[in-house]
Subunit: 336 residues, 2 copies
């Protein structure tokens, strides 16, 4: 039995781009388990862009600190157990693995999973990447056959699945990736309808052309300038899915905290939704709203303030004043 | 019978803040109606901040042009009709009225409405403002009793109703407005739990305190700095409703087109939704996703690319390379 445990520490938090020198490899003592814990041999560690974001500050998980074992999710095998629901030899997944050979963890942090062939699919299509693509695209994006779906980082773990699932659903699929090799792969191997190289410039015009006039669903893995180009191609009632913001991760933490918490990264970390609307879209349901509004007004639960200005000639002043914030309640001009 | 029609023209599109000098009042000939049209006497014109946005460029409606009758919605009365479904004396609403005493319009652009007392309620609580507050807050915001709801431009036509409806639904309601007088009104007359003066500074800290630690639902009427302050107070799974962006409207059209089309104004104009997510929130539904992913992989509809790097010691390089975009498909490090 091995008596040491090789570990990768994040030795120093990067102040600019992450470099391999920010890590350090150490040999520690083999961890010992206590009641309720399992000892895991790590088989495969998932390498995720989000690992860089964890260095910037707290998000949906605590911020990493210098000197800690680099955090990571992994596929692992139980080698020793003091937890009733695990047996030695069980295959498990945990996002508390860390970048190391062995780890002792509470059984609560570990999920047993069924073996499949190849094992690695449990970290890709049947793991976080697959589930992310599946729920993000289908539940949040709600793509319909014939709609245009755009995905960024399209050759990546999530993006390559998003585009293919969108094709399965009958959508017109455009991938955004860096460089010709990836773009060729998207079209020739993954069956995307088109692939755009963001490094080639004028992504907005490229997207308008490739989507045939606009985007219905945009699955964003990158944020930043690519997000903005896609944003302005959106068709009415379009849906944007904020899944990752890799363009904002690999920066100075001071800048990073700003940008990573901006739009759309803050939306990811907090699972926020933002929806713009025009009331005209709801007119079919006007009677139901009016019934309720009327009952609230009649019962005195809803007070109505109006700001009525007399005479058509006063309209310019009324509008200018409104923009300066001088009204309370609904401003209107009485004409006749 | 009157033979002239007083009209307010937008004489000149503003290049900075709107001033009354940008308008001109003229006396035109009384319009004559053709088949299918009605002649309306305008009773009340709604004064909306959006009228300023229409001067900036096309949105959900065409851009205004210099020299045109200023566009506006209004409550009006049919005075003459050559359309089968309208009678003289009918009360109607139309968003194609324009700022004038009389207008000839196709019957298709006019909606008959029932009289109510006072008539003006048809432009406030039973009109666009009321419906906007109702559907925006309840349908898009989905507030639950006990949640914190924040609304900006809270003393305005929409905001004052949003806050009161949120109170009816049992929420903790915080309004944002400019100046002490409006803030007092929100609490003392409209029954808000708290009102914050954005002119007093540090709105983020004010909001965190007034909401007791964060916002569940934010109803935005203003965009800009107030939007950003509220954004960063959002609790997990919070909902933002983009209803207006008045902070961006009254500016130079060159800057205006940028800002008004940014976040969140572009979301309004296009009725977009943006939702951030973390796949962990969907874990309860993992079996359903895996069943489908597996069937697609087995039928060859979904190709899985993996990028497996051998040896724990390679992890730093693997992550740095991933951030530089060198991987295709899911990258992982094989440890054992």
């Amino acid at each position: 039995m091995k008596t040491t445990n090789k570990q990768i520490l994040i030795d120093q938090l990067p102040s600019g781009a992450l470099r391999t020198e920010h890590f350090r490899i150490v040999e520690s003592a083999m961890p010992e388990i206590r009641d309720g814990e399992v000892l895991l041999r790590i088989l495969y560690i998932a390498v995720d862009a989000a690992m860089r974001a964890w260095m910037l500050g707290p998000s949906y998980r605590e911020a990493l600190k210098a000197g800690e074992v680099m955090a990571a999710a992994a596929l692992a095998e139980v080698v020793e157990t003091r937890h009733a629901t695990f047996d030695a030899g069980d295959l498990v997944y945990t996002d508390a693995a860390g970048c190391q050979e062995f780890v002792a963890l509470s059984g609560e942090k570990v999920r047993r999973i069924e073996r499949t062939e190849p094992l690695t699919h449990l970290l890709s299509v049947y793991g976080t990447a697959g589930l992310t693509a599946y729920f993000g695209l289908l539940d949040i994006g709600q793509p319909r056959a014939g709609e245009s779906v755009v995905v960024s980082a399209a050759a990546g773990a999530v993006g390559s699945l998003v585009g293919q699932i969108a094709k399965i659903k009958g959508c017109h699929v455009v991938g955004i990736a860096g460089g010709k090799a990836k773009c060729d792969l998207l079209v020739n191997t993954f069956g995307f309808d088109a692939a755009l190289d963001y490094k080639a410039g004028n992504l907005y015009a490229q997207l308008m052309a490739a989507t045939g006039g606009g985007t219905d669903v945009y699955f964003d893995n990158v944020g930043g300038a690519v997000f903005e180009s896609a944003l302005f191609t959106m068709k009415p009632h379009g849906r944007l899915i904020a899944c990752g913001a890799v363009s904002a991760y690999d920066t100075d933490p001071a800048k990073g905290l700003q940008s990573v918490r901006g739009i759309p990264a803050w939306f990811i970390s907090r699972r926020l939704s933002l929806r713009g609307f025009i009331v005209a879209d709801f007119y079919a349901r006007r009677p139901e709203a009016l019934r309720e509004l009327r009952s609230w007004v009649e019962r005195g639960q809803l007070q109505v303030r109006e700001d009525i200005i007399d005479g058509l000639a006063e309209l310019p002043r009324a509008l200018v004043g409104l923009l300066a914030g001088e009204n309370i309640g609904k401003r209107m001009v009485k004409v006749a």
